[in-house]
Amino acid sequence: MIIVKNLKRYYGTGETAVKALRGVSFEIKKGEFVAIVGASGSGKTTLLRILALLDDATEGEYTIRGLQVSSLPEAERSYYRLTQVGYIFQDYALINEMSAAENVYVLSMMEGKSKKESYETALEALDRVGLKGKHNRIPDELSGGEKQRVAIARAIAKKPDILFADEPCANLDTTNSRQVLDVFKELNEKYGQTIVMVTHESWHIEYVDRVITLEDGILISDERINEKEVNKK
């Protein structure tokens, strides 16, 4: 489903350039739950942002379902982000002046769905992450774990091909972290959602199928943890 070939990302030029990614290659199949791990500065977040089309690679190829997404113009990338990719930020990244439901259904409206249909989709997504009855609350009225679940609902409401999560539990305690990871696990196992998650917590590994480890911008290991049937694409 995702094919990454010799992906490089340099910040700056010449000798002072920071080489965040030095040529990373791997494939992710549909339905996989992959963790990207590594020390701080290893390039894992940079990699995830490129995969989610939030940043550009300096060199290399990146395809999703055979489409060379790395070379798409901005308008198409925007549409791709809206319809094919879900991104979960470390700090939730919710719009503070919008209710939980509005944070979710604004994307459905952008896709052209009616307000009613968008609202129903949002409620369904919020239910799926265990936030039934809290759809009218604004982010300030929710706990950290709840905010992250709203962010997950926003990402999954549009039923994206791939869900990217950048250290989704970084600001959460263990209980809330488990709730979030349980949601991911359920999405992956029950709905076959492809998930790529950046994490630095070793205990998160128990939730995933596969672990890609980066060090100084280079992929140093790609290890399968749980064997399961995945759709080849």
Binding site: D55, R81, E111
Partner: protein
């Protein structure tokens, strides 16, 4: 595009619904003052225009005035003109006048004036001259050696006293010597002092029409103007046309035509101040809206990045700020209107006093209000969208994480 509008409206409405209400109130208050500034001064100037044009109708020009055609000094056979004019439907009254230049002397004080020769009994229907006699009486049909002089010339005017040269406390019954422009000298007894708190009146003198005819040796009912009053205000232009159709070949003006020249000249400097004030208000208003939205945008730069990151189009984001800014300005206009109308009511009851006696009441001009509203709304869209457009063009990483 329709999706962009819907999403833009949703983002803007959430921001309004859950944004800081105190900030909103402050913004609206300031915008209302900007709106007030745009419309208040022109309303006051409009009030002055109404006052001055009122004077023009009540004294020199009436509703319609007929003046000599071409280079002629006089209307020849004014009585024939009057006969035609009086027969015109919609004409209430008409009279002839003779305006000449002269100087008046009293106890070695000399001032230059315009002396108007008029038919006293006809003036009751035409002008307010007979009603503004502050001392003594108005002229009568037999007043051949009598004169009415303006308070500013007499030296009794509390308004113009310190501005113009005067004859030094001339009273009713005083004798003054008038030297006409043709050199003829006449001595008159002051029958009355007129006080209209209007320069064109208070710097004028009135004598009987026949006196000017006699002094200048005029025959055949000559006049420098024929002044006409109409039955119904607002019909001046129709009456003007009818007078022309009735065969009057002299120049026929409405009071508005005459005021346009005279008042416009007088108001030019006021107009410049008005235009300057409007321009400054607009610039200040635009800058303020720009600053408000720019601060708002900077404050929410990360949100803009997030919205872009999750797939919201830059166009929706820019539209949301356009809506937001239009909302601020609409509320500002509304509050400004309430404030403006309250002030209008206040000044109707408590007019601004000019020259101690002239009461200026501001005039509400609906066109001006609409023009100001449209201008402010247009500015709000421009000022609101520019900063949002600029931020929405930034890369997502820069908007969210500043790099």
């Amino acid at each position: 595009m329709i999706n962009d509008i819907r999403v833009g409206a949703l983002i803007a409405s959430s921001s309004i619904k859950r944004g800081n209400k105190k900030t909103l109130m402050f913004i609206v208050f300031v915008l209302s003052l900007i709106f007030m500034n745009l419309v208040f001064l022109p309303s006051m100037i409009g009030g002055m225009m109404v006052l001055f044009t009122g004077y023009m109708q009540d004294y020199p020009f009436g509703d319609v005035v007929i003046e000599p055609s071409g280079d002629n000094t006089y209307i020849n056979n004014a009585d024939s003109v009057l006969q035609k004019v009086r027969a015109v439907e919609g004409v209430r009254a008409a009279t002839k006048r003779l305006d000449v230049g002269a100087s008046i002397e009293h106890k070695q004080n000399v001032v230059g004036v315009t002396v108007t020769g008029l038919l006293p009994t006809e003036e009751y229907e035409i002008s307010r001259y007979p009603y503004i006699i502050s001392e003594g009486d108005f002229l009568g049909d037999l007043s051949r050696d009598e004169i009415i002089i303006g308070a500013a010339i007499a030296g009794t005017s509390p308004v113009f006293g310190e501005i113009y040269d005067d004859l030094g406390e001339v009273r009713a019954g005083s004798l003054v010597e008038v030297t006409y422009s043709n050199g003829v000298k006449r001595t008159y007894k002051v029958k009355g002092i007129m006080e209209g708190t209007f320069e064109l009146v208070d710097l004028n003198a009135l004598v009987h029409y026949k006196e000017i005819e006699d002094v200048y040796g005029l025959e055949g009912s000559k006049a420098t103007s024929v002044v006409v009053r109409v039955d119904k205000q607002g019909t001046e232009e129709q009456v003007q046309d009818k007078i022309r159709e009735a065969g009057v070949n002299e120049q026929v003006f409405t009071w508005a035509d005459k005021s346009e020249t005279l008042i416009k000249q007088a108001m030019q400097s006021m107009g410049a101040i008005d235009a300057m004030s409007k321009f400054v208000s607009l610039i200040v208003g635009a800058a303020l809206i720009l600053i408000i939205i720019y601060i708002n945008v900077l404050h929410r730069k990360k949100e803009i990045g997030i919205l872009k990151a999750v797939g919201i189009t830059p166009r929706s984001i820019v539209l949301s700020y356009a809506f937001l800014s239009m909302f601020y300005v609409s509320l500002g206009i509304l509050a400004g209107l309430v404030l403006y109308l309250s002030l209008m009511l206040y000044f109707q009851a408590n007019p601004v006093i000019f020259y101690e006696t002239m009461e200026i009441r501001p005039v509400i001009d609906p066109m001006l209000l609409i023009q100001s509203m449209v201008t402010m709304l247009t500015l709000s869209v421009i000022a609101g969208t520019l900063p949002a457009w600029s931020v929405s063009k930034e890369s997502i990483l820069k908007a969210i994480w500043g790099r």
